[in-house]
Symmetry: C2
Subunit: 531 residues, 2 copies
């Protein structure tokens, strides 16, 4: 910034200093409830900022490698406590920037989830249970996942806390695995991100970690973003967001041989059998409407496609959902861009031949909003253009795909792209278990998480969670972005120690169990004992 930088341009956090960015342009976030720009200006960093952050991160990575995991865990816990303590300010800021409800969503659900996720990551860090320590005493070889190096985190617009680049799942996993993070704020909630980073910086100082363990820039040019993820100083990148931007970054990272973990678009198909509707149709209507309209449908796992078999039950179901969609008020969307993109996707789907049952049209003018929207097409039409009909309409919209029978339904499922989730509702009485077998056989390979009798929104922080899925839902079908300890492994490098002298092994691989509760695979058996 030049000397005439306005006082309200926010500083970046680089190498432990909140300083004026090296930047020539700024941006502002929008209050989606008013569709007006918020006052604070944020810098678009030049490569100089990125370069300094990378150097500082590389230094921090070296320092972190020498520190015991307990020290890193203490930081994560202190940061979690600070987030809880700063709840009021954080929630006000997130509300202003995203329009999401202060209660229960932001204050009572997402913020506690975020601090608890940091605590869960701290625990995995302290025990080392993410690192898969493996000991082969006969061969004299021991292996463990170690930190990979500085991690760039690009957070999405839809979770200002739980997936925030400076506090969310990727952040927690990267830090707990022993890596510094360079956070790139999402442009829709930069002030919330800055407020979180302030807490992180204080917690770093309080717990004695390298100041550059957490750094924050708000935005870069696209070209600099590509340079960032492919820089030799970077270990890996975590990205959650749109498919277009994600694939551009993936291409750059791939060329440089740098791991990049992406969470891209997903339509999250929900399959509902006629027998399920006959038995419990009203409850499913309620489940579905809540799932799509909660948070105005702005979830990675929003059920954007419902696959059905034609008939009286399905007609009744569709009519009931349509009534609810038409009568319930449209929620606020995160930003003008989200409203515009939703409107555009609905138009695309209708252009491909989907019938508009309710909603559609143009975004509202006075706030970021779009009518609750339902569309419908046949499985036959879907099979004629499967890629087109899988256009993601991110927000309060969904597409019914109606098949003639279960075999056609299964054929359509066979043409799905990779998705984060897939749900199957069947009758409790077992009358359509055969249909379930066919449906799940087709659906399971397409999704990261298969659900029964339950909508996909709601991603529990569980060791068994997979918030991932085959491409293009993510970039690799073997990794999860949510769930501890598995999400940490993404940011680890496997190192084998062959004939390394006993006193030179990392603590976690020495004969003595370092914590008394660290799980290690010793000669083919998982154990918390000493060797």
């Amino acid at each position: 910034m030049t000397a005439d930088t306005p006082a309200n341009v926010r500083p970046v956090l680089i190498a432990g200093q909140w300083r004026v960015a090296k930047s020539s342009t700024t941006f502002q976030a929008t209050d989606p409830n008013k569709n007006t720009k918020l006052a604070a200006e944020f810098p678009v960093s030049s490569w100089d900022d990125c370069d300094e952050a990378l150097n500082a991160a590389a230094d921090a990575a070296r320092q972190l490698r020498k520190m015991p995991p307990s020290k890193i865990a203490a930081f994560l816990e202190r940061y979690a406590d600070r987030i809880d303590a700063a709840k009021e300010t954080l929630v006000e800021s997130a509300f202003a920037e995203t329009g999401l409800a202060k209660s229960p969503r932001l204050g009572d659900v997402e913020l506690p989830r975020t601090s608890n996720q940091l605590r869960a990551a701290a625990k995995a860090c302290r025990t080392g249970n993410w690192a898969m320590a493996t000991i082969d005493t006969a061969a004299g070889i021991r292996s463990v996942f170690e930190p990979l190096g500085p991690v760039c985190v690009f957070g999405p617009n839809n979770f200002p806390f739980a997936f925030n680049s400076v506090a969310g799942g990727d952040f927690a996993a990267a830090i707990a695995a022993g890596n510094p993070v360079i956070a790139k704020a999402n442009s829709s909630h930069p002030e919330t991100t800055r407020l979180l980073a302030e807490q992180a910086a204080e917690a770093l100082a309080e717990t004695g970690l390298p100041p550059a363990t957490v750094q924050l820039i708000y935005r870069t040019s696209h070209a600099d973003g590509e340079c960032l993820v492919s820089d030799p100083r970077v270990g890996a990148t975590g990205y959650t967001g749109s498919r277009g931007a994600g694939l551009t970054l993936k291409s750059a990272a791939d060329r440089a041989g740098k791991p990049i973990y992406l969470e891209l678009s997903s339509v999250n198909p929900v399959v509902i059998t006629p027998a399920a509707l006959a038995e419990k149709g009203e409850a499913i209507v309620g489940d579905f409407v809540t799932s799509v309209l909660m948070g105005t449908g702005q979830f990675c796992t929003n059920p954007g496609m419902v696959m059905l078999v034609g008939g009286a039950e399905t007609d009744t179901f569709i009519a009931a959902v349509k009534d609810k969609f038409a009568s319930l008020p449209a929620g606020t969307l995160l930003s003008p861009a989200v409203a515009k993109s939703l409107s555009s996707s609905v138009k695309t789907l209708c252009d491909f031949g989907a019938d508009l049952l309710t909603g559609g049209g143009e975004p509202e003018a006075g706030r970021c909003a779009y009518a609750n929207t339902l569309m419908k097409t046949s499985a036959k039409a879907f099979l004629g253009n499967p890629e087109g009909f899988q256009t993601e309409a991110f927000g309060n919209a969904s597409l019914f795909v109606v098949a003639n029978d279960v075999p056609q339904l299964c054929e359509a499922i066979g043409h799905l792209e990779g998705n984060l989730t897939g749900c199957v509702y069947t009758a409790n009485n077992g009358s359509d278990d055969d249909a379930y077998a066919s449906i799940s056989f087709e659906l399971s390979p397409k999704v990261g998480r298969l659900l029964n009798d339950k909508m996909p929104t709601g991603v529990a922080v569980s060791a068994a969670m997979n918030h991932g899925g085959p491409y293009p839902a993510t970039g690799h079908p073997g990794f999860t972005a949510v769930g501890v300890p598995a999400s940490l492994v993404r940011f680890g490098k496997l190192t084998s120690f062959d004939n390394v002298r006993a006193d030179r092994l990392p603590e976690i691989l020495k004969d003595k169990n370092p914590t008394g509760e660290t799980w290690r695979m010793i000669d083919g058996k998982w154990s918390t004992s000493n060797v």
Copy 2:
């Protein structure tokens, strides 16, 4: 092939049939001991062959998903027994095509290793211990790695059995994870590969697996290879070979979002301190010479670079190694291409300024061979052109890099690319433990396997082995190509089952432990018990 296909053109194995390839050209392997073409001709398959193989593999993958792991394990075991029984024929063929010694190398080391690797994979398949079954009873979520889909395997030239695309580590891992394999033979030993595939086909029939579980083509155009690894019907690819061809395939697979596991080049630095040389220099000379000249240096983990600190001990060491290299006969190389590439790499290194201590020149004429070659440069020169001096000279050659002191040595190590291995020799008496700390701190992040007082050749099949490493040694620092069960995870897809009814869960995730010995993470604890 047209009707006038010569009788000695070998058939491909597609969809369970040994049939004439759809091909317009053929190739022949070379007997490296005579530098003459072997008689058998092998077809270069057209895309039609690939397309049929892909369709058959996709069908086989669906069938395999319905089979119990014990059935797949039985195939791997039967195949292993058949390989052992066919030892004589296989060893004769491999000797004719590779020039590697029949004994001990091919018959007594590599072949038993190969069959035992298949048996180890069978065991991991039977127990499911590779699949990381995770059960969270409170959340009602259970996850496990499942088969990813058909796997293409491209094997290298240097291990006709243990890394063969139709019998080696990638093959065993892919099959044990429940996937069919499309094997692409290495052009240097196609007949050995065909003989192995014959045994595989018989074993498939004997154990009742889908015939297309194992398919074999010998060669394709480069363009078809790229189409193969990026085809929608493919789950993933395993590739071991040259960096150039590997990166071309990686690029194609990356664009399609298909996982590809690569094992590319590696110079495998060996760091030796003056104190180590003072204490046990003679033994290290023996270790090093054996390691580089064994198998004529044609190992992925061949020590192609030795990093030293200048002084009397180092001069003595280099002189002793030079004497041995000059006096020992040069072994046979795998093919004319290997000899040519080695000669070219040595020239490149000398052009960059390396001094030729012994060897060099042109390949022999009457057989595939090249003089045992040693080169030397300074750490200062290395630091001026680190990329150039890391040119891999695959074969019986190595480069000494001599530093002024330990700090300069460490600076040079900091400029290494990713490698499969890194070794450090220090004194047993602990006199240079400080140097070790500095050296290993720099070296460890650069390598997949860190060794003490031991050469890197010899890759034990151990659960703690990492035959992998940071790019460009491989494409991802978190995966190993050798070692069971970890190598299987590469060919798995993580699936989470959320609220899925108990009787619909995969056997491995049901309350009852399916084998009584399957390790599962149940509510945070690894256990072989029932839930």
